[in-house]
Symmetry: C2
């Protein structure tokens, strides 16, 4: 994938050569949505190896920043993400994958289906002391049972 | 919003205090989807001021990394983003906003409705020389007319 990384802006935006723009840490952000209902499930990063493995295997691989290791999503929980479609954005510094998930269809380590289980109220004059509201009421799995930690 | 920034992990993941985790550059990534059809429209960053303005005004404000300035999306093009819902993820280091857009409903400066107008083939053995395919055939506006640059 490296040949196009330093391609001119016009080629990056309007061309057909995949030229992923990794940041100074060698990472590119990835938005993961459900192929089932379109919800944003999670947000993570890929390094070049994770991206190559994702493309080659058709399953989502990420780079875990907290563990500093390659991360085959679902390897522990069984909830592997099958990539249905993968897209890049105009300046090729972000990826969007649409996935199907085996088992309970959950993507968040907390047990919720999506990591985005809390809403932030908008349109308030004051942004201080903002209180979140839960938009999902039930976890779909018990993380203690799945991860045994 | 600052009181919760250094909150314990359990409180950040399971609590109701909004504690956005800005990165070392003072930014938090934001995924923007269409309230109309659920598509991912764009991906950008907010700094604390952009986030506060978004919450207070109910319109999307970002931090432009290329221009190093606060960015009221749509101020030039007229395609302001009205925030219908705003969510944060488990570790509160990412935001997801669902928006309605005035006018032609476009979010990308190239003229496409979504920045994610090109697909990456998956499931191939070789990841080198990956060729993108356009998944949107028509731009919804002419950027030369809108931006006059």
């Amino acid at each position: 994938m490296s040949p196009g990384v330093n391609a001119p802006k016009d080629e990056i935006e309007n061309g057909t050569v995949f030229a992923p723009q990794f940041d100074t840490n060698g990472l590119i952000p990835c938005i993961t949505t459900s192929a089932n209902n379109g919800d944003v499930l999670m947000f993570a990063f890929m390094n070049e190896e994770a991206l190559q493995k994702t493309i080659e295997t058709g399953e989502a691989w990420y780079w875990s920043r907290s563990r500093s290791e390659l991360w085959h999503k679902g390897a522990t929980s069984g909830m592997v993400q099958k990539v249905i479609e993968m897209k890049t954005d105009c300046d090729q510094d972000c990826l969007w994958i649409s996935v199907e998930i085996a088992g309970t269809e959950a993507a968040c380590h907390t047990g919720y289906q999506s990591c985005f289980y809390r809403s932030i109220p908008v349109g308030n004059k004051a942004a201080k002391d903002t209180i979140l509201s839960f938009n999902k009421t039930e976890k779909v799995f018990d993380p203690k049972e799945i991860y045994k930690d």
